[in-house]
Every structure is written in C-alpha cells, then in structure tokens.
C-alpha cells in the first residue's frame, strides 16, 4: 500500500549556522518521503549541524523512530551533526530509552541550540 501523508509536513530554513527542519504533525510511516526530501534540502545548506525541530509534533511512533534513526545514520555518514529541540517530555523519555539522545543532543528550544552551536 502506498502511504499518503495528510498529517505531516515539514519546512526547511537556515538560521545562522543551523539548517532547521520544522516538523509539523505526526511522524509515522506516512512521513517517510516528505522527511527524506526535506533532509536533502537541508543538506544543501552545507551547514555542519542540522536540527530537527519537534515543537509542533504530536505523535511519533516506532516507524517514526526508525525514520529518525535513518536520518541520524545519514548525518553521521556525511560527518554532520544532527540535533533536536522542542521534544515533549514524553518523547524526551523515548529518546532516552531508545538511546537516540546518546547520539543527538536534545535541546529544550531553538535558542538554546543556537547558543551552543555558535560557541562550538
């Protein structure tokens, strides 16, 4: 079956030294194509760090976790740093349990991420 996404969209922008993916809606199997395309767009900014902004995400399922793992693997392959911000308390817990937070820094918000990336 062909997944159709009607509950996920993503916008890509650059802010200072960051390429930011603003994620909206649910991250599940339906988000695959849009997320992949957006990440490619973010790569084109050629920043050393790409940030996934989860501030407007309501639901991430295990397939969504797998998509994030795929992006993280892709970032590591191209020597980029993948970071996140805006995760709810529940999904922060899931990022801890799955150990994703061992491989990608979880910032509380975009400003905190910008400060640290600027220092780095």
């Amino acid at each position: 079956m062909e997944p159709q996404s009607d509950s996920f969209r993503v916008q890509v922008r650059r802010r200072d030294g960051l390429a930011v993916l603003d994620l909206f809606g649910d991250i599940d199997g339906f988000a695959d194509v849009a997320l992949d395309a957006a990440y490619s767009e973010a790569e084109a900014f050629a920043t050393p760090t790409i940030m996934l902004h989860f501030g407007n995400v309501g639901y991430i399922n295990s397939t969504g976790i797998a998509l994030i793992v795929g992006l993280l693997a892709r970032a590591r392959k191209t020597q980029r740093r993948l970071v996140t911000c805006g995760l709810s308390e529940h999904y922060r817990e899931i990022f801890n349990i799955t150990r994703l937070s061992d491989f990608m820094t979880v910032y509380a918000d975009e400003e905190s991420a910008l400060r640290e990336v600027a220092v780095a």
Partner: protein
Amino acid sequence: MPDIAGWEVTAYYQPARAVGGDFYDFISFPDGRIAFVIGDVTDKGVPAALVMATTRTLLRSAAERLVSPGAVLEETNNQLVENIPPKMFVTCLYALLDPASGRLVFANAGHDVPYRRTRAGVVELRARGMPLGLLPNMHYEQHEVTLETGDCVLLYSDGLVEAHSPTREMFGFPRLQAMMGEPVDGNLVPFLLDRLRAFTGPQWEQEDDVTIVLLGSRPGGNGAGEPEERRKVLARFELPSRPGNERLAMQQVAEVVAPLGLAQGKLDRLKTAVAEATMNGMEHGNRYDEDIPVLIEVARETDDLTISITDRGLKQPIPEAATPDLTAKLAGQQSPRGWGLFLIQNMVDEMHVTADEVHHTVNLVVHLTEGAQRGTTE
C-alpha cells in the same frame, strides 16, 4: 411499551419495505421481571414476516415454561428448525431484566452484539450462539451483568450499522459505539437517529430494516447495584486493520480511561504502548487486511488497568522483546526498524502475550497506585 418504575424503555422500528424482517418484543413475568427480545429474519417481504410471527410465538411459548434466556433460545431453535423454509434463519437477542436489582441475563443467537453504556465507557455484551433455525440442538451461552444507575443498554438490528452514506461508507460498529459514549441530553434514541440521518443524507434509499430498543436505568431509579465481578470491562471495540488506525485505538483508550485520572506521564506511556501494540497487530498479525479487525478491550481489576489487543496472527509467534542495537543500526548493519515491542515493554508496568490456534493477544498492564490520582505528577 412496558412501564417499569425506575427504568425507561424506548423502541424504534423503520422497515425498509412495507413488510420487514426485524422484530422486537417485551415479555412481562408475574415476579416483575421482563424480557427484551430483538430479532432479524433473513430476507424481507411476506415470507420473512411469517417466519417472524412464528418465531415470536415460539419465543413467548418457551418463555412461559423456561426461565433462563439460553434455554429459551435453545427451545425456540429446536421448534423453529423443523418448520423454517430452506435458506432462512433468524438472529435473536434475548435479555431478561430484574428491575429491582438491575440484573440483566442475556443470550444471543447470532444477533448484533448489544452495547452497554456505563459511567466508565461503552462495552459490548457478548454471548455466543448460532442463529435460530439453522441446526438443531444448539447451545446458547448465557451471561449476566448488573446495570447501575444511569447505565443503558442498546439493542439494534444490522440495518443501523450497515446503513451507507452517499459515498458508500458504512455506518459501522465503531461509529455506533463511539456515539453511545457521547454526552447526550435526554434520550439516546433521537440522538442516534439524528446522527444516522446526517450520515445517510436526505436521499438515503434504506436498504434494510432499522430497529432500536433502548433500556435505560433512570438516575435515582431502582436499577442500581455494584457489579459483582472483580474484573470490570470498561470498553471493548474493534478497528479495521488500516495503516494509521493505531491513532484511533490510542484516542479511544485514552477517552475510556480518562475517568481514572492517570498522571500525564503514565497516560502518555500507555497511549504509546497501545498504539504500538495495535500497529503490530494490524501489520504483523492481520497483514493490514481491513476485513480482519484488531479487538481492543480495556478492563480494570482492583489496582490494575489492562488493555488487551488481539489480532488474528494464527500460529505466527510474537518474538521476545529485545533491546535494539542502535549502534549497529546507525552503522547500517541492522534495519533501522524494530522498535515496537521494545517500546511497548518500556511503556507499561507489565506486558504479557497469549495465543491460541488463531489469535494473539498482547496484554498491557498499568498499575493504578495512589500516583494515578488526577492532578498528581510522577
């Protein structure tokens, strides 16, 4: 319509043709008990009407001599099977209410399962049995519940749940069950009929008879009584195995458990576990075949809340939940997928898997401690 102190009974019948195959009946007994009967004869028109009249007479005759609903259906079936025309049969639900205690004993001959609305949610009243008139010497399971003040029980025919919208979408059981749970001022029957009309549209060509019988215990009435069983089913519903439907499972379970006042963190974890287990059932058990639903039951037993999610995975075993190796996944040595069972196990206090020849059931258990009170944090 029977007039029972402390109870409200409402019936609605709309045949699809001039002579329909649905019927309902009320049988009063000298001790104050009353039987509620609803049935549906295959086919329509005069032949169906004759079978309907015969069945109604046989049921009344059996009820005069027999008390238990299961025995009444057995006797009626044995009488009917000898006289019914070929290729016809009758589905029938027979429920016996003791208005003083609220005790409702019921048996079912293949009829659509009634819904009971309680303060905690909407549940199905299930009892197995073959339709009447097919085979002799059938046994009919009998179950009982005690209706509490404010509860109601909805009996209905398939013409309601099989009604179609202008775009050929079916009304369906999940929609009916969800509507039953909505807050309604006054009687539920006009509310359901309004919703049905809105769903089918004004040009609806009614395909089948629609029959509804509602039995409600009035607040302050006699139909009170604490359930005797320690384990209380709060809701039972099914969802088609369609990608994305795990969100419906998650939302419906959240609504059912809302009165328990789980702390936000515990509720979020439960929702994730329910979504993942439902997704596994739909994908691996039912292979996303929309005709095979996942069944979800929410039950409370003393301090435990258990969500049971059943698929039809046949003998395919559910693997043990293992900790995924993220390093290997990032190195491309393993698939990035495979998080479902691991997440489920980490989101609830206990996870048990049971299976028979046909089904898998994943039981998710959450311990309801004092931390489960509304407004507390963890």
